[in-house]
């Protein structure tokens, strides 16, 4: 039963992921992206990673896609129909991605498929946060400095032109 639900959400995720790539309209790509993120969140939930599932819905479907939709709203796409790419580029990219995917699937099946299951100590939020504040404290702090630099950078990118000394 769980396996059937897993397969259903996998198919939903893949179909909406394909919809992101092949939609002609940007706003439809964004909507497909929301559905794809929800499908991935349910896959995480089925694996038992509840925290990551909630974070996925909050940050990806709640913040990132809203940013995308907001930018689509800011830019005016009414009469800018996207021309399709050169045929040879599409063919080469398709073959390249296909071969790389087959290679990755092979590698994953050979390395991870045969690894033993040690589900004795289930991963929960308590152990994750304990590790995050003891063993991985320095990467966490580096990440906060990174976020500060990010805020300053986005302010510099997005400030109005009349205010600064842009040439």
């Amino acid at each position: 039963m769980k396996e059937m639900i897993f397969a259903l959400f996998s198919i939903i995720t893949l179909l909406t992921g394909a919809g992101v790539v092949i939609s002609r309209n940007v706003i439809y790509s964004a909507f497909n992206l929301v559905l794809c993120f929800f499908g991935l969140a349910s896959l995480y939930l089925l694996w038992g990673a509840t925290f990551i599932s909630m974070v996925q819905i909050l940050i990806y479907a709640g913040a990132i896609v809203v940013l995308f939709v907001f930018v689509v709203m800011l830019l005016n796409f009414e009469h800018s129909s996207e021309r399709s790419q050169n045929f040879w580029i599409i063919l080469g990219s398709g073959i390249g991605s296909w071969v790389l995917s087959l290679f990755l699937l092979r590698v994953l099946s050979n390395t991870l498929g045969a690894s033993p299951y040690q589900s004795a100590a289930p991963t929960n939020l308590r152990t994750v946060s304990k590790l995050l504040f003891t063993q991985y404290l320095w990467p966490f702090e580096v990440l906060t400095i990174f976020m500060l630099a990010l805020i300053i950078g986005i302010y510099l990118l997005g400030r109005p032109e009349s205010e600064g000394t842009q040439s």
């Binding site: 769980k2 794809c36 993120f37 991935l40 990551i52 996925q56 940050i59 995308f68 398709g94 994750v128």
Partner: protein
């Protein structure tokens, strides 16, 4: 139990790899800068799925921590990328990636 878990593992591998391939394909063939950013998100999510699977299967927490870091960096990347796209649109009035040839002479 073992059989069920194995099937879920194979589905996860298939979904993750196919999502990565789709993201790579869209990254290469689309010309709209916004869709290219969305395809980058697809690739990051494919990697996240594999990390969650490893963390849940082996009972270790390092995968979850790495996923948290990846999500943070992805949010940062989208914010900066959309800022750059807005500035490019201000200059050129388009987001078609092939029209930005300022550096190619």
């Amino acid at each position: 139990m073992m059989e069920k878990l194995t099937s879920m593992v194979y589905w996860t591998h298939f979904v993750s790899v196919a999502l990565f391939g789709l993201g790579l394909l869209g990254f290469l063939i689309r010309r709209n800068a916004l869709v290219v950013l969305m395809c980058l998100e697809l690739m990051l999510n494919a990697v996240n799925l594999i990390l969650v699977e490893i963390a849940m299967k082996t009972g270790t927490s390092e995968g979850i921590i790495l996923v948290v870091f990846v999500i943070t960096v992805a949010a940062a990347e989208v914010a900066v990328g959309l800022g750059i796209i807005l500035n490019l649109y201000r200059i050129k009035k388009t987001v078609d990636l092939t029209s930005f040839r300022i550096l190619s002479g």
